[in-house]
């Protein structure tokens, strides 16, 4: 108990610092990058004085640290700001359609945009991850237990094949084969759960090779540990040793690669896949925001992503120390 309390106190305080640092870097980079968001908000026809007025009103002419502190203060109040571009009713309201510029209050709050997109992304991530697990867990375990035989060969060839397919290409080919050509599955946008299948396959194709590889390596390492064979001499079945002991030991390196590598891959993969499929999740929201220089959306998504990463890693480390008491954090 004491250990858990101290662990979380220490790690959460560290995590908050990390998130703050990430937020500051992103905030600054967005503001020093070329391209003026005011020009995008007001469109090419806006007068310099109107632009200056809007910039003043949005606080974009203050020194960056001051803007950042004000932003943090707003976040503390639960206000992540409003989109520069998107209107409350949805749809893009920037540029030429709204040359006069509407007051920011009518623009959609970022938090609402995220809340609307998040469930789609979670659904896609969960389906993709589940699909990847379905293939890679059994295959990885079988390949790890014996370092010869067909499961090992299948695992090796399959993961080599999958790792060399770019997800953009896989996405387009699947759209062509499963949707455009045969009409089996819907592909673009989202109307019902069927729309998630093809994108989920693409996400799974990206995750599976890494998972197969790390599962089989982790299992193989532990199968070579003396306790696995000795356990069988002690009178326990190979099955018990595998499922109760080897997998338990293998979970520690797997959790680490999950926290360090796979979550990052999953996030990156989702952005690309959502864009290809016009899937209305966080990824599509962010990519559009980047094209439109919608600062509040970009920085909020970035802060959310880093928070998720930091906390998943805290959870992963806690799970690891709980499984293997020799580990210290």
């Amino acid at each position: 108990m004491a250990f858990a309390l101290e662990f979380f106190l220490r790690r959460i305080s560290q995590g908050v610092l990390i998130v703050l640092a990430v937020a500051f870097v992103i905030f600054t980079l967005l503001r020093i990058a070329p391209g003026d968001p005011i020009r995008i908000i007001l469109g090419p026809m806006a007068t310099p004085s109107a632009m200056e007025e809007t910039a003043e009103r949005l606080g974009l002419r203050d020194p960056i640290p001051m803007q950042f502190l004000r932003y943090l203060g707003d976040i503390a109040k639960g206000d992540f700001g409003n989109s520069f571009i998107r209107g409350k009713q949805g749809g893009t309201t920037g540029g030429s359609q709204d040359a006069a510029g509407s007051p920011p209050v009518e623009r959609a709050p970022v938090i609402e945009l995220i809340a609307k997109a998040l469930p789609y992304t979670l659904l896609l991530a969960a389906c993709g991850f589940l699909l990847a697990c379905l293939v890679s867990i059994p295959l990885g375990i079988m390949a790890g237990v014996k370092n010869s035989g067909w499961p090992q060969k299948v695992a090796l060839y399959l993961s080599s094949l999958l790792v060399s397919l770019p997800n953009v290409w896989v996405g387009i080919v699947l759209i062509y084969l499963l949707s455009a050509r045969t009409g089996w599955l819907p592909a673009i946008g989202y109307q019902h759960i069927g729309y998630v299948i093809i994108p989920a396959i693409v996400v799974a194709v990206e995750l599976a090779p890494v998972m197969i590889r790390s599962i089989s390596v982790a299992v193989a390492t532990n199968v070579q540990d003396p306790f696995y064979e000795i356990g069988q001499v002690r009178g326990l079945s190979a099955r018990t040793m595998l499922f109760r002991h080897v997998l338990r030991n293998a979970a520690v390196p797997l959790l680490n690669s999950f926290g360090a590598q796979m979550i990052g891959m999953l996030l990156g993969g989702l952005f690309v896949v959502e864009y290809i499929f016009s899937f209305p999740g966080i990824g599509l929201l962010t990519i559009n925001a980047v094209f439109q220089r919608d600062f509040p959306v970009i920085q909020t998504v970035a802060i959310f992503a880093s928070t998720v990463l930091v906390f998943i890693n805290i959870a992963v480390d806690f799970a690891s120390t709980t499984i293997d008491r020799r580990l210290k954090f």
Binding site: A2, F3, L5, E6, D225, P226, F227, E229, I230, G231, Q232, V233, R234, G235, L236, S237, T240, R244, H245, R248, N249, V252, I323, D324, R325, R326, K328
Partner: protein
Amino acid sequence: MAAELLLKVENLSISLGSGEAARTLISNVAFEVRPKSVLGIIGESGSGKTLLSRALVNWVRPPLRVTSGRVIYQGRDLLELPEADMARLRGREIAYIGANPTTALDPTMPVGHQIEEKLRTIEPDLPRREARQRVIDLLDAVRIPSARSRFDEYPFQFSGGMMQRAMIVDALISKPKLLVADNITQPLDVTVAAQILRLLRDLQRDFGTSIVFVSSSFGTIVEVADEVVVLDKGTIVEAQDTGSIQKNPVHPYTKELLAKVPRLWHDVGSVPETNAEPVVLSVRDVAKTYEVKDRASLFRKNRVQAVRGVSFDVRRGESLGLIGESGCGKSTLSRLLSSLESPDRGAIEVNGVDVATLRGDALLSMRRRFQLLLQDPYNSIPSHVSIGATIAEPLRIHRLATGQQLRERVCEVMREVGLPPDLYDALPVGLSAGQRQRVNIARAMVLEPSVLILDETLSALDQVEQAKLLDLFDSLQRKHGITYLYISHDLAMVRRACARIAVMYLGKIVEIGDNETIFDAPAHPYTRTLLSSVSTVEAKPFLPRDYLLEGEPPDPIHIPGGCSFRSRCPFVIDTCRTVEPTLSIKAGGTATACHLDVDRLPAPSILAKARIGAAPKRMDSL
């Protein structure tokens, strides 16, 4: 007769690989094990002991292959048995304990839970609470202190000795008829090994288990076995009962093995003597405490008192031995002495200069005079660097030689330590452990050190190689006047090599004296305990029944007040509980930290004493 046999091995041969390249490792081995008896199998490393003991539980895996023979257990050939039938015997009627208890269990699960898991696999109907109680009872029976809380502790929290006890519990929980014990005392301290042997004998009597006890130490075998078979290069060369094999060994190999058993009291020959040269190394009240996190409480750290005020002097050309059980602070002390770490208090003076005051070049040149040799000959040499370059590296670091001169200097040292100079450009791949250790010695000697710290340097080598290297150290000492600090748990080696010996317990020296006094007339009960627990084939002056300790040293976080040895001392008196004894000169000339008068301890065994008197007086050592 035959019906009474529990196990009968017939004509067993095992080889490595197949076809033309096959190498026979065990050939035509045959022996019998009667119910309720202990059969000892003795053999040196490489004799095929472990392989043979694994064959007894049908645990021979490719590329190893049984090429002929039968292992008949109660009328059934185990080697022919279907896997399912074998699985019904393994861990149930036939149990196996290996040499390395620390890797035998899943490191992520509590020890007790894993034994309980095994018990409930064997007896699926046993309720969990009952199973747990039975495990705890047996943990208690093998004298694991506070068995109930130990039940929930993890393998890494157990010492080697505790873990081996747990493995004995694991083996005996199913009340097996046959127990195969493969070199189970090898990694343990002498005191712990002695306890384990006694325990095994008691349990064997109580449970009526037959034991096949495999070991490389004659001294250990004769303490437990009823009959002994001698294994040499995969063949049995002799089989006799324990009493007669000691008195009348027939085969030359058995005689050779018996002769190789190190002697501590009889026919020891000359022992090194102290000298009156100037003091080279002076250690003054050195202490070191480490802090480790306490998992059970918030923000608290435990203080591990590894070394608690150690003082001694070593003279030029002298050898000092530091002995004690694992965890007594020997290795921490060696790290302090080689300035890998600095002590919390106290001073280490080399030729009168406090090492802690040295910086930069002065420290570097001091280090040149002060070399450390470690135990592991494999990991201490880079495998991708040529032997010559490895030995030359210190010369480069200290900028002592270059070019042709460097090569000559290295070749000279290689010759001196017994390495052929043609190995200069070879990689260390394929060198034996002994040769590798010689590379280490050469790498240290190339700097012409005045002090060598030998931290278990010879422990990983077999007795023949050990003897050769001890001779080498002797001649180097004579030639260069080097001072040695032997840090070891091997009493026989220290007996042969050291002029003075310091005995450590829980981070302190409890007794220090010259070789003769420490071995023949020690005044501290702990020294006597160590001597009583040595496995030898000779009569000992100090008998295990007078001194044998229970348990292990307290952990260095919770050191008892008063005398730190009091929790295990069989002769404890009231003063011990409150007053910590300081080193004081006792009869016999040793400095001893003990409140007791020597006369209050049991007198050395008469038998052994008479033999010591009769032994030829030692010759001059130098």
